[in-house]
């Protein structure tokens, strides 16, 4: 009898404790915890931030962010120095900016960003313009409450929710250069690799050379290239990220991206989740891309003849909103 009473008291106390501190067991928090255990601090930081977006007042998540942030910042700082040593100034600039986003009072990152901007003014001007344009929207969007998915958080694409970080057995510092922050959508059934569906104008350019990835067959018989995580690149590979929407007043349905390229959202579908995008070069429509699921990539050639890869990152049918990123034609390379 006494034992039963004590156990019931214990349950009540545990319930009260959880109610007070807030239960941190969201999918994002679980992924973050796994990533932290695996030593993937940059990824853990991203996931904890995603968890904080859903539960900003959760003390456990806030403490976890504080715990992981210096380690994540160190990760990006080391990679930035490596990129700087290799002469990849713009890449280093982006990574130092990431360091500052994580740790705004970092002792040296601000000076290094300014030094890169001073030494490479022409190169960094474009990168900064792109960064400012994309982050202006993303910051506003990240502040919106009660979003089922935050389309514009600079730290994370939402579709990463389903990606479980792989625990790494290699504990060396150089085991990887960047955390897997890109989107990957695993196909349910492997089939033969279909050719890229080419847009009318895009047919002049060669298809994107990526590793063969098994793709699902769509109900209308059209197959799309869904990039593997490795093909999808990392966050720093994106030259720009944009949000376009038909129903969300904060965003326009047609947005300029880069090199004369403008993307217009034509429509989204719920089942299956996919988007229809139109590509414009200097106000002239040059391609229609229909039934693009999350993770789909299409090749786009800019006004200067430079090839880019447009990747669909998130689709939200309720508000007819799409987030896409644009990167160089191959991950890790800049046009």
């Amino acid at each position: 009898m006494i034992r039963t009473r004590f156990s019931s008291y214990g349950c009540i106390a545990a319930w009260g404790l959880v109610a007070l501190t807030g239960c941190a067991t969201t999918p994002d928090a679980r992924q973050a915890w796994n990533a932290e255990k695996a030593g993937e601090y940059a990824l853990a930081y991203e996931r904890y931030c995603a968890a904080a977006e859903d539960r900003p007042g959760n003390a456990q998540i806030a403490a976890a962010i504080r715990r992981v942030a210096p380690l994540a910042a160190r990760h990006w700082e080391q990679n930035a120095h490596t990129a700087l040593d290799r002469g990849e100034s713009i890449r280093a600039w982006r990574m130092f900016m990431r360091v500052l986003e994580i740790q705004p009072d970092h002792p040296s990152a601000a000076q290094l960003v300014r030094r890169i901007e001073r030494d490479h003014p022409a190169e960094t001007r474009l990168a900064r313009a792109e960064w400012m344009q994309s982050n202006r929207r993303s910051q506003i969007a990240s502040a919106e409450p009660n979003q089922e998915a935050n389309p514009a958080s600079p730290e994370k694409p939402r579709t990463q929710r389903d990606v479980k970080p792989e625990p790494s057995t290699d504990t060396s510092k150089e085991r990887r250069t960047e955390p897997p922050v890109a989107v990957a959508v695993a196909p349910p059934e492997p089939v033969a690799e279909p050719p890229l569906r080419e847009a009318p104008v895009m047919a002049k350019t060669p298809p994107v050379q990526t590793n063969p990835t098994p793709q699902p067959i769509r109900r209308d018989g059209v197959r799309h290239r869904i990039l593997k995580e490795t093909d999808h690149g990392t966050e720093s590979d994106y030259l720009a990220r944009r949000i376009i929407s038909r129903d969300d007043d904060r965003y326009e349905k047609k947005v300029y991206v880069i090199d004369g390229i403008t993307i217009k959202l034509d429509d989204t579908d719920d089942d299956p989740l996919e988007a229809d995008l139109d590509v414009y070069i200097d106000d002239e429509r040059v391609a229609k891309h229909r039934h693009l699921p999350v993770g789909a990539a299409v090749r786009v050639v800019g006004r200067s003849g430079t090839a880019y890869r447009l990747v669909v990152l998130t689709i939200r049918d309720r508000t007819e909103t799409v987030i896409f990123g644009i990167m160089g034609d191959a991950p890790g390379t800049k046009p």
């Binding site: 931030c49 995603a50 968890a51 904080a52 977006e53 900003p56 007042g57 959760n58 998540i61 806030a62 962010i65 504080r66 942030a69 130092f96 900016m97 500052l100 986003e101 994580i102 740790q103 705004p104 009072d105 990152a109 601000a110 960003v113 300014r114 313009a129 400012m132 344009q133 982050n135 202006r136 929207r137 910051q139 506003i140 990240s142 502040a143 919106e144 409450p145 958080s153 600079p154 730290e155 904060r250 326009e252 300029y256």
Partner: protein, 293 residues
């Protein structure tokens, strides 16, 4: 009736007979000490009357707390000091003491207090023209800060301005105020701010959404050089939960947020690389989101 003397005497017997000497009463002050106290009081009253015009040299922050709220000065001050700020953080009292409602809605009161704050700024600038001086405000206190800036005489400028959870209108014309800011104006904002979500009229008496929700916006009629290139909205991000600001109204004044996010922007004379001023977007003027709809 015979007068009774209360003066105490002492009889002393010596070789010459009995002598009566007065005994000093310790309850009555010594004439010399009376003079000293009177002199000190006169000096003190002179200092108070002249306003104690010795303004300490060095960096200075003037903080205006929110409506009916005075709990943010201490964490803001602690955050600045933790970040290495070695100056005075003084609180400018402007509340009516009638509660947050009166403080928020009485615009004339805030304007008159803004005038007082402007006079204080002029006084500080007159004493130390080159010392760094920053203004900070929380909630309705941001209106006092902006009103003070607008009433400053020509040539008097402060270094930086921080508006925490500003309850003034997002459409407030900052052109005049920015003429009196050397550096930048930062405005923190969060759509999770439930207090500002329920505010019907902004603290400056204008229509529109409070700037602490979606950030400051540029009125359409403004020219691009009206100072908005130095206005920066600091939108809440999930990462800020790690710095103690979870998007709430007064949580923005958390010590850690001030220490790690605000203070680096004030202590470094160069613009912070993460700053995104409103008037610097690719679209030439301001960018679509910054423009008033």
């Amino acid at each position: 009736m015979m007068a009774v003397s209360h003066r105490r005497v002492r009889t002393v017997r010596d070789g010459q007979g009995i002598r009566v000497t007065p005994v000093r009463d310790h309850r009555t002050p010594h004439p010399a000490s009376v003079t000293r106290v009177a002199g000190a009081c006169a000096l003190l009253s002179l200092l108070l009357g002249s306003g104690c015009s010795t303004i300490e040299e060095g960096p200075r922050v003037i903080f205006c707390d929110g409506a009916g709220w005075s709990g943010s000065h201490r964490p803001v001050s602690a955050g600045l000091r933790a970040a290495g700020f070695r100056g005075r953080v003084e609180s400018f009292a402007w509340s009516t003491l009638l509660g947050p409602g009166a403080d928020h809605y009485l615009v004339a009161r805030k304007k008159s207090k803004g005038e007082e704050l402007a006079a204080r700024i002029v006084e500080i600038r007159k004493a130390h023209p080159d010392a760094s001086l920053h203004l900070m405000g929380l909630s309705a206190g941001t209106a006092v800060v902006v009103f003070a800036l607008e009433q400053l005489p020509d040539g008097v400028r402060v270094d930086n301005v921080v508006l925490f959870s500003a309850s003034l209108s997002e459409r407030h014309d900052l052109a005049t105020a920015m003429q009196h800011v050397r550096g930048r104006l930062y405005a923190t904002c969060s759509m999770r701010d439930r207090i500002l979500s329920g505010v019907g009229v902004t603290a400056d008496g204008l229509s529109g959404r409070p700037a602490g929700l979606g950030g400051l916006r540029i009125p359409d009629r403004m020219r691009s050089d009206d100072g908005y290139a130095r206005v920066v909205n600091l939108h809440w991000r999930p990462a800020y939960a790690g710095f103690g600001w979870t998007g709430t109204h007064t949580g923005v004044a958390d010590k850690r947020f001030v220490q790690h996010v605000i203070a680096p922007r004030l202590l470094d004379p160069l613009p912070h690389p993460l700053d995104r001023p409103l008037a610097s977007s690719r679209t030439g003027r301001y960018g679509t989101l910054a423009r008033t709809p």
